[in-house]
């Protein structure tokens, strides 16, 4: 999947052109081009500080690019909000907040409830359904401060699922979860793809990229390479992305060959 301008913007889940984001005059993302078609399960990988979270946030309109554009199904995010759901990093909230699991998931539909109204039976039912999809419905009343890391991640996932979006953007959902939860998340991602959704995931573990994802973006401030995993996830590209950490990359390639 190279920069292919032949596909019309509306059929692209996400269309990024010349995206440059700077933080205090230092570039965090530089001149990134990327077209993500519908229905892929894509990983974004890169070293620390590569701009992966910034990239996700640019799609969501959470920062102001210095240059370039990001379109979601042909329109800026603000016009197509209902089509995108966001799963932020677990560490981005304080889990000691006084609220329970059901409440957090219900927050996902606050956008539809409108001002001055309480969440009624319908949003709550949607939330329970989403919790069931991640296997957490029995913990609906649990205080979020009592959850394990894996449970916290599932709550965030349920909160995204309840929005019934077409595109899911996730930031390191596998970070610090137990093996069972990791398997469950992978199952969920695949199920989403079956349903025709597009899933873009910032991923920290290179070893599992070929196993979990069909597309990948290699990012280090600039776009190094992007496309189907079997085409793009090469030793050369990895070295270009991660710098000369030869041993680590070679080991990875050896594994891939298994």
């Amino acid at each position: 999947m190279t920069t292919d301008h032949a596909i019309p913007a509306e059929d692209l889940a996400i269309d990024v052109r010349d995206l440059t984001v700077a933080y205090r005059e230092k570039p965090v993302l530089w001149d990134v081009d990327l077209q993500i078609p519908d229905g892929v399960l894509m990983a974004i990988v890169g070293p620390n500080g590569a701009g992966k979270t910034t990239f996700i946030k640019s799609v969501l309109g959470l920062n102001t690019p210095a240059a370039g554009s990001v379109l979601v199904h042909g329109k800026p995010y603000q016009k197509n909000r209902s089509q995108v759901a966001y799963v932020p990093q677990r560490g981005s909230v304080d889990w000691d907040f006084p609220t329970n699991v059901l409440d957090v998931v219900t927050m996902g539909v606050y956008g539809t409830i409108g001002w001055f109204r309480r969440p009624g039976a319908a949003p709550k039912a949607q939330a329970i359904k989403a919790l069931a999809e991640v296997g957490m419905e029995s913990l609906a009343d649990r205080q979020i401060s009592e959850l394990s890391g894996g449970q916290q991640q599932r709550v965030f996932l349920a909160r995204a699922l309840v929005q019934d979006a077409d595109i899911y953007l996730m930031d390191e959902p596998f970070q610090g979860v137990d093996a069972t939860t990791e398997r469950a998340i992978v199952e969920l991602l695949r199920a989403l793809r079956e349903r025709g959704k597009t899933v873009v995931v910032v991923h920290h573990d290179l070893q599992t990229v070929p196993e979990y994802f069909d597309h990948v973006l290699l990012l280090n401030v600039r776009r190094i390479a992007a496309g189907p995993v079997e085409d793009v996830f090469t030793e050369e590209n990895l070295r270009a992305t991660y710098g000369g950490r030869v041993a680590f990359v070679s080991a990875l390639m050896a594994r891939k060959g298994e």
Binding site: R24, K57, L60, G61, L62, Q78, R81, V84, Y86, P88, S92, V93, D94, F97, P98, T99, N100, V104, M107, G108, Y110, G111, I113, W115, F116, R118, P119, Q143, S145, R159
Partner: protein, 376 residues
């Protein structure tokens, strides 16, 4: 009770208690959101920033009416909060640095202005510095109307925007992706904050106001895990502090009301931090101690069982010294053995040796299974 009837019959006590209670309710409720957003000290900064606002209002209008001074305090306090947000957003300055700068600079300017007013030839400027520590005893009915009006607006808006305030306190990024006008909501919340603070300036003054914002909320957090209950509880704590302060101050001459209110709310926070179930310090220590004890009990039981398993029967006795050697825990097994005796899980055979009781054996078996798995 004598003092209770006085609360309703004595005009001054009634008025001061009512004003202080209303203040405690608004400050307590809003303080919860400040606490959860890690902005507890914002209350302190805004209170101190209000001082030049009071001076400015007097300089511009020549009036010392409550309403005028409250508006002045509110306007400059609000401006201060906007400045903090701008500083944090646009410069490398961190939030608490911005708070510190704003607090000291504005307060200093306020003091200079008050001194300047003091020197003015016009003999009408007396009494502005009563805003430093408040003059609760001088609350009058007309002040209560103003406080009631502002307080009602605060509570109304808090209820109306409840879910939005909850969301922007928990996950502002999420709120933004959902399309909520996060910036505007934050301004609204800060505005309510400023309003609660300026109500309190007459009662407890600039210097002490921050205590009423932070303390009731911090105390309430200790007792509940539900936001609604927390806000309610904080309001109650605030009201109780206000009324207690007024009542205490009325029982003895020369007891200033504002500081007494702050003393009461501090006691409430102290008690909550120590004694609240689950989160309180005392309870956590007890839980830790209990679980440490359970660990030691299980460890010695397992040791006894393991030792005995190398002999014919499970109740084969072993001496305390052997147990000490086996144990990886610090200290001797002596106390734990006596505890086991009390729990009837082990018994002394003679003055040196101990063996498992059937119950002890049962429990040891269970522990081993739980911790070391059913098969090797």
């Amino acid at each position: 009770m004598d003092i209770l009837t006085e609360l309703f019959t004595d005009y001054t006590l009634r008025t001061v208690a009512l004003g202080a209670a209303l203040l405690g309710i608004s400050a307590g409720a809003l303080g919860c959101f400040a606490l959860l957003r890690r902005q507890s000290l914002l209350g302190d900064a805004i209170s101190h920033a209000a001082l030049p606002g009071i001076a400015l209002a007097f300089l511009l209008t020549g009036s010392k009416s409550s309403l005028v001074l409250i508006l002045g305090a509110g306007a400059v306090g609000w401006f201060g909060s906007v400045l903090i947000a701008a500083l944090t957003r646009r410069t490398p300055i961190t939030y608490d640095t911005a708070l510190g700068i704003l607090l000291s600079v504005f307060f200093g300017v306020g003091l200079v202005m008050l001194t300047f007013i003091q020197r003015m030839p016009d003999a009408n400027q007396a009494g502005l510095d009563s805003f430093l520590f408040g003059q609760a005893a001088a609350l009058m009915q007309r002040d209560i109307y103003v406080i009631l009006a502002i307080g009602s607006v605060i509570l109304l808006l808090t209820v109306a925007f409840w879910k939005e305030f909850k969301l922007i306190s928990f996950d502002p990024d999420m709120a933004e992706t959902l399309g909520l006008p996060v910036r505007a909501l934050e301004h609204l919340l800060t505005g309510l904050f400023v309003a609660a603070i300026v109500i309190g300036l007459q009662t407890v003054g600039v210097v002490l106001m921050s205590a009423l914002i932070v303390a009731p909320a911090a105390a309430a957090r200790q007792w509940t895990n539900r936001l609604g209950v927390m806000v309610l509880l904080a309001a109650v704590f605030g009201a109780v502090s206000g009324v207690s302060g007024a009542v205490s101050s009325s029982m003895a001459p020369n007891l200033p009301t504002g500081p007494v209110i702050v003393v009461v709310v501090s006691m409430i926070v102290g008690a909550s931090l120590l004694f609240a179930p689950n989160r309180g310090f005392v309870f956590r220590k007890i839980r830790e101690w209990k679980s440490g004890r359970a660990l030691r009990v299980d460890a010695v039981l397992v040791d006894l069982y393991t030792l005995a398993s190398q002999h014919a029967s499970a109740d084969y006795p072993h001496s305390e010294q052997v147990l000490n050697v086996m144990s990886s825990m610090s200290g001797t097994a002596k106390r734990t053995l006596h505890l086991l005796k009390t729990l009837e899980l082990a018994q002394p055979i003679d003055d040196q040796r101990w063996s498992l009781t059937p119950a002890g054996e049962e429990r040891a078996r269970r522990v081993i299974e739980e911790h070391y798995g059913g098969g090797a």
